[in-house]
């Protein structure tokens, strides 16, 4: 086993044996996923929420509503068409069933009529499920009332759901937050080791310094991948957040993000002298990013001037890129711009660290 791998193993052992570090790197983001998942998730049981709009108000429309309510996979909310459309656009519901006025009269006359089903074709899995359910209910209805002749048909409407569900929004965002903290917090042990003279003393051994840094980077990139698997796994298992995008692209983004924030951590460590300073400054850097980069609520909800501030924060772009690739999130910036900005931070901060980092 070569020196770099031995050092990396030593780093991993140190992390695994350090309960406080374990808490911050793994349990803190996991806690956030559960906390916000439960707060915003609502249907954490894998159910699909749909809106039901009854414009008919006849026994027929009520019968239809009852039929939809009895499907265990669905949760039903009722309201006006406008309200339900808004809810769907916001991602609170995945489909809308509309029973237009006159349906009851048409069914009584056994003349053909149709109910409308609004779905978002871009979230194909959910759309298919809802379509099938609606088909079954319609044919069951036809069998019961009209002896099998197709009285009630389904008219498919599309409505672009411009927003993904809150939990689907949160899972990649919290992953971005975890990667940010993983990188930025790397400044603290570096400053600590320099302050204690450990970096200088290591310089008295033949160990090449890049290996010391490299092992630290390797360890943190591995942790980044583990973090991603754990957070996305919890999102999938407990909150049914599907990863729709290319997994390789997602992994690439996780590594790029972790790398960019590690570079920021190293650049910070170049200017900080004491451990107390480092702990303080790291918080000053990470706290505003955590709250302003659109992690816990959408970027659009920020007042204008804070949006401007957030546009300077690298976390905004990592979270945006991860949402785009993982859950088809609406973009703050095009994916290419996100990647370019993160790469820029990586290169510039690495340059600063390479120029300014002091070993003693």
């Amino acid at each position: 086993m070569n020196t770099l791998m031995r050092l990396t193993v030593a780093n991993i052992r140190s992390l695994v044996r350090d309960r406080a570090a374990l808490f911050w790197t793994f349990f803190f983001p996991v806690m956030f996923v559960f906390l916000f998942g439960w707060i915003f998730g609502g249907s954490g049981d894998g159910k699909v929420a749909i809106g039901f709009v009854d414009q008919d108000n006849t026994p027929v429309s009520m019968g239809l509503q009852q039929a939809f309510s009895q499907v265990t996979l669905l949760t039903i909310q009722t309201g006006s068409l406008e309200a339900e459309k808004a809810a769907m656009q916001h991602g609170d519901i995945s489909a809308i069933v509309v029973v237009p006025s006159g349906t009851g009269v048409a069914v009584a006359a056994k003349s053909a009529t149709s109910i409308q089903l609004y779905i978002d074709p871009s979230s194909s899995q959910v759309s298919q499920v809802v379509e099938q359910i609606a088909d079954q209910i319609a044919s069951g209805f036809n069998l019961q009332l009209a002896g099998g002749s197709a009285v009630v048909g389904i008219q498919q409407m599309t409505l672009q759901s411009t927003n993904i569900s809150t939990v689907a929004y949160l899972v990649p965002s919290i992953l971005a937050m975890a990667l940010m903290q993983l990188g930025v917090f790397a400044a603290i042990p570096l400053v600590q080791q320099r302050e204690k003279g450990i970096l200088k003393r290591i310089g008295a051994t033949p160990l090449a310094r890049w290996k010391l840094v490299g092992s630290n980077v390797l360890m943190r990139l591995m942790v980044a991948i583990v973090d991603a698997v754990v957070i996305l796994g919890i999102g999938l298992i407990f909150f049914n957040v599907q990863i729709v995008g290319n997994l390789l692209a997602a992994a690439g983004l996780v590594l790029l993000g972790a790398g960019a924030f590690l570079a920021i951590g190293f650049a910070l460590a170049s200017f900080l002298k004491t451990e107390e300073q480092a702990t303080g400054v790291v918080q000053v850097v990470q706290m505003p990013m955590m709250f302003l980069s659109g992690i816990f609520f959408s970027f659009d909800f920020l007042p204008g001037f804070l949006q401007t501030v957030a546009r300077f924060m690298p976390l905004t772009y990592l979270a945006d890129a991860l949402r785009q690739v993982m859950v088809n999130g609406t973009q703050v910036a095009p994916l290419g711009v996100d990647v370019a900005i993160l790469t820029g931070w990586l290169v510039v901060c690495l340059g600063i660290a390479a120029r300014s980092f002091r070993w003693e």
């Binding site: 031995r6 044996r17 080791q193 450990i198 003393r201 290591i202 008295a204 033949p206």
Partner: protein, 309 residues
Amino acid sequence: MTQSGEPVIGVANLCKCYGDVKAVDGISFQVGRGEVFGLLGPNGAGKTTTIEILEGLREPDSGSVTVFGMDVTRHAPSIKQRIGVQLQTVSLYPRLTVTELLDLFGSFYAHHLPTKQLIDAVDLGERAKARSMNLSGGQQQRLSIALALVNDPELIFLDEPTTGLDPQARRSLWDLIKGLQGRGKSILMTTHYMEEAAELCDRVAIMDHGHILEMGTVPELIGRRFKERAVFFDTSPKLPVEQLGKLDGVTRAAVEDGQTVLYSRDVAGTIGALLGLTDQLNIDPHNLGIRQATLEDVFLDLTGRALRD
């Protein structure tokens, strides 16, 4: 003492400045193969700068510095393979065990000793699986010495190896260092403790303000400065130093740590005169005693201050 062949360390007219401060100001010394050489001096004397230049951690401003006959600035990598450095801060990884740390450090070098052998050499067998953060102060120092021995070095740098240890732990560490000396290792050490230097070092150099003030074996240094022995007793306000300086045989009188010390060429005469004086004043000199001058006295005489301040 056991010098032979060319010196392992050769320093000539070494200078190193930090801004306007001359940390090391034209020092020269040599350390022979198998020799234990001590650098003594207060904080800020320039000891650490000197050691760090020898370890290849800093560049000298001027002067020549060689280790194993090689220039330290040009051959740092190959020198580092052959020297051992004791880390005052024990470990990069406080959560790794003694065994894991020794294995890791061993991998930094082209050749290294078996971990088991190192653990036995510093008598840490029972703590081999303990995390380094859980070791006692003495055990941590033992570990840091084991880490310095990982590559079976020919030359070992020990930077205040016993600072902060209780007397028993210090004694046992001294035995360990004497063992290294017995195996023919060359050692350059710094210390605050005169007793330690007297016990371990073949030769010492006393440094202050970047200069070497005095260099030689411990008996040489004492003999060069003090033909006298010292009469000492607890300082009393009724016995002013100025007056005591005029007693028979006294060459110099001083107050150190609450004790009055009279350096005397004629101890019998001085004690007689002192007791005559105390009889007159009707007081008893407490804790009266006689001793040889020590390295501590040499240092005080050279610099006008105690070493550990």
